[in-house]
Point group: C2
Chain length 389, copies 2
DNA sequence: TAACTTTGTAAGCTTTACTGACAAATCAGC
DNA sequence: GCTGATTTGTCAGTAAAGCTTACAAAGTTA
C-alpha cells in the first residue's frame, strides 16, 4: 500500500519560509505601540486616570500624560471629569475613549442572497444599517453591488470614517485579496484595494469566521485570550484567536474545516467526497433533515441535533486538545443550536478529551442579537487602524 | 563553566517577559528588539554585511552599524572578512554570529529510565553529552538527579553559559513550573527556579513536544513558519508553532492529545476510557501489538502500521484544517514510523481535508540523528535569552 | 582614467521616555 | 481646624535610540 511516488510529489512542495518583512522598529514605532496600548486599555477598561494607565503599562506618568494629551487633541479620547469616589490624594482625572471619534463601516458578505452592512461607532454600537440584494450575482457584478453598499453606508456615517471592514466567505490574504470566493466566483480579487481606492479610506477584508473570532475577542468582555468560533451558515467556517492574535494559516485557509471527513460512509458532499462535516452540521442539511425525518417528533428532532453536535465535538476535540482552548463559541441559527446540539458538543468534547484539557472548557451559542460577522468586520478595522484588540 | 557567579550578568537580552499586564515599551526595549532582530538574521542567514542587515530590517546603515558593533564588542558576533564575489561598489564586510560565544545546556527529561543532556554551541552543534540513570525515581529524588546532570553538563561547558533549557513531559508554565509531571510525580515544582538558583544562570523549562516544535522551527532551515510536531514516546505529545510563536495553551496544556478518543470501542486506556489515541499509536502499544500479531508477517505488520497512521491522520485532519499548517513532523522510533505509517498519515490527511488545506502539506519523519527534544530545550534558551527563533 | 555604485563611519538632529521637583487636592489624625 | 501624608498631573532637563546628511574608501563600468 505504500506509495513512494505520492510522497515524492509532496516533498517537492517545500513551503518556503515566508521570511516576513521583519521590520526593525524606530522610536516612532515605539510610540505607536504605546499609543495602541493606551487605546486598548481605554477600550476595554472604560474610564481610567493617567496614573492608572501608568501603573498598568509600566510607563511613567509623564510619558502617559504626553500620549494621552496627544490622543485627546486628536479627538480620540476625552476627559471625563474627576473620579467621584473617596480616597487619599488628589482626585484622579478620568479619561476615556471617545466612541464617536470615528465611524467604522462594516460589511458582511457571507449571506447567500444579500449583503448587509452597518455603521458602527468605536464602542461597537450600531449607528445605521443597510442591506442590499446580492441575489446570485457573481464576479464583477457582485463587487459592484458590494461597493454600492459601502457607498450607502459611507454616506450614512455621522463621523469621519476610520476604515471599511469586510467579512466574506473564502480564502483571503491579510492584505485583503480574495484568493478564492466560491459563492461569488471571485479569484484573486483585490477587494480591499478596490474599496480603499473608491472611498479613499483604509479597507480590510477577512474571512467571515476568522473575523467573527476576532470580533468575539474584541467586543465580548467575557471572552478568553484564545478562543474558537464555529460559524454555521451555508458551510462550516471556523476562526481561531490564539493569545489575542488571529490565526490566518500558511496559505490563508485557516478554519476551512467544512470538508473534514467525519463519517467515511456518510452522505455525498458537494465536494465529491462522503461524510464531510458540512453534510452533517451544515444548516441546510440540518434543516432539511429535520423537515424530512422529524417534522413533529420532538424526540427524533433532538436525536438528530445531538448527532450533529456529536460530529462537531468529534472534530473539535483534537483542535481543543492541541491548542488547549477554553472558549468555544458557535454562531448560527439559534433555534437549531441552542439546547440539544449545544449540550451534545460539550458532552462529546468532555468525553473525548483529557481532563486537563476540558476542565476549563465552555461551549456557548452566540447571542444572535449581536451580529457577530459584522462585529468581526469592524474588529478588523479597529485592530489594523488603532491597534485595539 | 568557569565561574558561576559571573553568570548573574548573563541576561543578554531581557528577562523573560512574564506577560502580565501589557507592558509599555521604552527606547531600551526598542533597541533590544532590534538587537534580537539582527541576531535572528545572522542565525538563519549566516554571514551578511551591515548593509544587508539594513536592507532586510528597514533600519539605516548607521543604526545597524551601532548595533552590530555593540554585539561584536560583547563577543556575540564577529567580522568574517570581505565578501569575495565580484560586484559593483565597495566590497561588503561580512559579519556572523559567533557560535562559540556561549554554551547552552540542554536537558531532556522525557525518557522513562534516564535523563540525557548536552552542551551545545549557539549553532546547535553538540559539544558534549552526558547521561544519567533516572530509573523510576520520583519527586525530590528525581529533581536531585536532574540537577546533578545539570551540574555535570555545566562543568563540561567550554564557554560561559547562556542558560539551561529543559524539556520534560507534563504541563509546564512559561516560567518553568511543572504543574503536572505524572511520570516523575511532580506537582507545582518550580524546576526552572531551582536550576537557576543552584547554578546562577537563567533556566527555561518546557513541555517536551512543545519544545521539540520550537526546536524544529529554530534549527531546521527547511521548516515552515507554522508547524506541528508529533512526539511518540511513552505517550503522544504534540507541539505547535504558529507564525514562529510556540502555542502554550490557556492552561499550558497545549498538545495534550494522547487521550483524544479515536475509537469509542477501542482498547481500554490507562486513563480509564476506551480508544484513546495513545492506545493506537503509542509506541508501547504499537510494538507489543506488532510482536503479538505480526512477528514475521510483513503484510500484517504494514497493516497495523497503516491503521496507526490512519488514526493519527484522523486526529490531525481537523487540526491541520483549523490552523492551515503545511508542515507536520513526526518524531519517535524511525523503524516504526518510516514507511507505511508515514504514508498512511499523509494519505489520511489528504483524504480527509479540503484540497486548499492539504495542497502544500507535507508529513516528515524526523531525522533521528538529531535529538529533537534536546534541540528543543536549547531553542527555549535561544529564544528567551537572545530572541532567536 | 573618469564616472558611478556600494559600503561603512562620523557629526549633528529629532524623537521618545525617564528623572527629579513641585503644585494641587484630598484624607487621616490630633 | 490644622498639619502631615498621599496621590495626581505637569514642567524642565537628561539620556538613549534611530535618523539625516556628508564623506571617504574601494570596487566596477564606460
Amino acid at each position: 500500500m505504500t506509495d513512494p511516488t505520492e510522497q515524492t510529489v509532496n516533498r517537492v512542495v517545500a513551503a518556503p519560509r515566508t521570511e516576513g518583512p521583519r521590520r526593525g522598529s524606530t522610536p516612532e514605532d515605539n510610540r505607536l505601540h504605546n499609543r495602541a496600548l493606551i487605546l486598548r486599555s481605554l477600550f476595554h477598561a472604560g474610564a481610567v486616570s493617567r496614573a492608572d494607565l501608568a501603573r498598568s503599562t509600566g510607563l511613567t506618568r509623564t510619558s502617559i500624560s504626553a500620549l494621552v494629551n496627544d490622543l485627546a487633541s486628536e479627538g480620540l479620547i476625552s476627559e471625563l471629569g474627576l473620579r467621584d469616589d473617596s480616597r487619599v490624594g488628589k482626585p484622579a482625572n478620568l479619561v476615556g475613549l471617545r466612541s464617536d471619534a470615528y465611524s467604522i463601516i462594516a460589511v458582511d458578505l457571507s449571506a447567500d442572497d444579500r449583503f448587509t452592512g452597518a455603521v458602527l461607532d468605536l464602542s461597537g454600537a450600531i449607528v445605521a444599517r443597510e442591506e442590499i440584494d446580492g441575489g446570485t450575482s457573481t464576479g464583477e457584478d457582485a463587487v459592484e453591488i458590494a461597493l454600492e453598499l459601502c457607498g450607502r453606508l459611507a454616506a450614512a456615517a455621522p463621523r469621519r470614517i476610520l476604515g471599511f471592514g469586510v467579512s466574506a466567505p473564502g480564502i483571503i490574504t491579510p492584505d485583503g485579496v480574495v484568493l478564492e470566493g466560491v459563492y461569488r466566483d471571485w479569484t484573486d480579487l483585490p477587494l480591499a484595494a478596490r474599496i480603499s481606492e473608491r472611498f479613499g479610506a483604509p479597507a480590510h477584508v477577512g474571512n467571515d469566521a476568522n473575523a467573527a473570532a476576532l470580533g468575539v475577542r474584541t467586543y465580548d468582555r467575557d471572552a478568553a485570550n484564545s478562543l474558537l468560533v464555529v460559524h454555521l451558515e451555508h458551510g462550516v467556517g471556523l476562526g481561531v484567536v490564539i493569545d489575542g492574535v488571529l490565526v490566518r494559516g500558511e496559505r490563508f485557509s485557516a478554519g476551512e474545516i467544512g470538508h473534514v471527513t467525519v463519517d467515511e460512509l456518510g452522505d455525498r458532499c458537494g465536494c465529491g467526497r462522503r461524510g464531510c462535516l458540512e453534510t452533517v452540521i451544515g444548516t441546510q442539511h440540518l434543516t432539511s433533515r429535520l423537515a424530512g425525518e422529524a417534522p413533529h417528533d420532538v424526540g427524533r428532532r433532538d436525536e438528530i441535533l445531538e448527532d450533529a453536535g456529536r460530529a462537531l465535538g468529534q472534530v473539535l476535540a483534537p483542535v481543543v486538545s492541541t491548542l488547549n482552548l477554553n472558549d468555544v463559541i458557535v454562531t448560527g441559527p439559534a433555534d437549531l443550536l441552542t439546547g440539544p446540539f449545544e449540550y451534545s458538543v460539550l458532552r462529546t468534547l468532555r468525553a473525548r478529551t483529557f481532563p486537563s484539557i476540558h476542565e476549563g472548557l465552555r461551549v456557548r451559542i452566540a447571542d444572535t442579537s449581536r451580529p457577530l460577522i459584522l462585529l468581526g468586520a469592524a474588529a478588523l478595522v479597529l485592530s489594523a487602524e488603532l491597534g485595539i484588540t
